[in-house]
Amino acid sequence: MSDHDPRLAELLSDAVSDIEPADHLDAIRDRTKVIPMTSRRPWYLVAGGAAIATAAVITAIALASNQDSPSVDPLPPGTSPTGAVDPTPTGGSTDPAVPTLTVAGYYLGATSSGTGLYREFIQVPANDPLSAAVLALETAPSDPDYRTPWPAGSFSDAGFDGVGDNGVVSVVLADASLHDRPAGMSQAEAEAAIQQVVYTLQAAVRTRAPVQFMFNGNPIDQVLGVPTSEPLANASPLATLSHVSISDPAEGASVSGSLEANGVANSFEANVGWEIRQGDQVISNGSFMADGYMDDKLFPWHTTIDISSLAPGTYTFAVMEDDPSAGAEGNGPDTDTRTIVVE
């Protein structure tokens, strides 16, 4: 480094040369033996005083209500041509030692029934799927309709101690301020954010194992104000996820001739509608069938749309839930959109 000043190096080293830290090896050994399930409070809770301490109301979490139907693979094979968790050779990553992984990230977005989760496949530099999933949670999705409430540095680690649906996925918070629900975030949004983590990590390990939030080596009693003392199961997919989600095309994809699209949906009688729009104007529309609809899960769909008659330009590709009542009942259809560029 060009700007190396030996006098500053000396001053900084000298400034801490009299610091003799106390021995914490026993405390570290103690915390790394087994995952202790006793609620030893992290230091900041003690420091935070009574107000936070009384918030440590242990709410029983429905571990047993795991959505464990075996066909509910978060990543049905073949739903995305990019593959679910393909280690691909390093692209433009800054660190040549870290490969780029494609993972399914879940992101918050508006649905007909409030804030729901949309899935987007995202590429991040990581060595393993769980690290990639954590990074995906902290990375802004490319679709501007989605968002993530988790800033960079929210999590330090994630792990999975089991096989299949047995075991617990753990995710370690790095930032103590995430304990409480921030001002301006609704309860529903906080709950969606927690489910976002659950769904994204479950997708990474390809199981429905419950997810335990940890801090300082212990389970943390709440995250964003949502009770997390116990491992959390994923909530009902139809109550949590947007009923339609586009996997391909990606946001801003260039297409010509025909548009190959796929994703997941749960729509009345498996009918899924699509539109290609320019501004407010619907240029063309149609529908196709998803693989099913009679279950609490999303079903893969795939369709090919002839776009050879479209003039080059930027369009919106929209896929929507079928609404047989035409808006007379319920909250109207869920819709997912992608910007596409026709060449």
């Binding site: 480094m1 060009s2 700007d3 190396h4 000043d5 030996p6 006098r7 500053l8 190096a9 000396e10 001053l11 900084l12 080293s13 000298d14 400034a15 801490v16 040369s17 009299d18 610091i19 003799e20 830290p21 106390a22 914490h24 090896l25 405390a27 570290i28 050994r29 915390r31 790394t32 230091w43 900041y44 420091a47 935070g48 800054t94 660190d95 060595n127 393993d128 690290s131 960079a152 540095g153 330090s156 680690d157 792990g159 370690v172 790095a174 930032d175 103590a176 301020s177 300082n216 080596g217």
Partner: protein, 192 residues
Amino acid sequence: MPAGTAVSDRPAWGADEAVEQLYAAHWRQLVRLSVLLVRDTGSAEEIVQDAFVAVHGRWSKLRDPDLALAYLRQAVVNRSRSALRHRAVVERHAARERLPADVPGADESALISDRRAAVLDAMRVLPQRQREVLALRYYLDLSESEIADALGISRGAVKSHASRGSAALRELLADQLGDQPDTHPQPNGEEQ
């Protein structure tokens, strides 16, 4: 860092052993690094303890003492940053500072402790990133690319933070840097 080399020769550790070896070699240095970032020793110990717990949980993926050390450094910097956001650190620091402040003295040890306090105070004045870059650069003697990796920023950003931070620190510590040689010993042999 001579202590780091001893660790690199034995690859087949379990997580417990790895943590013990890393602790023996780096505990003090990492706490001191964190003190440069958060100032308060008690908080620094907590932060580094958390980092060791985290590296234990991650050992099965790291499996390499050098990677583990890089992870530890990164964890210490990140956690120091998070801790600073938390008022508890500030409050504890304030409480701690009140104690030694009323111990007067004009002898050499008082001058030394004044100088050390001035350096830590100056670090706290710097923007977060500059402080982190300077601590990794000047205290741990990391290279530009090692700092870029630890902080997750580009080498260009490291360069710019280092340059601005150094200039700011030189200005803040003008008194210390202009000190007489007898009250400010220079073991690195920098003679006038």
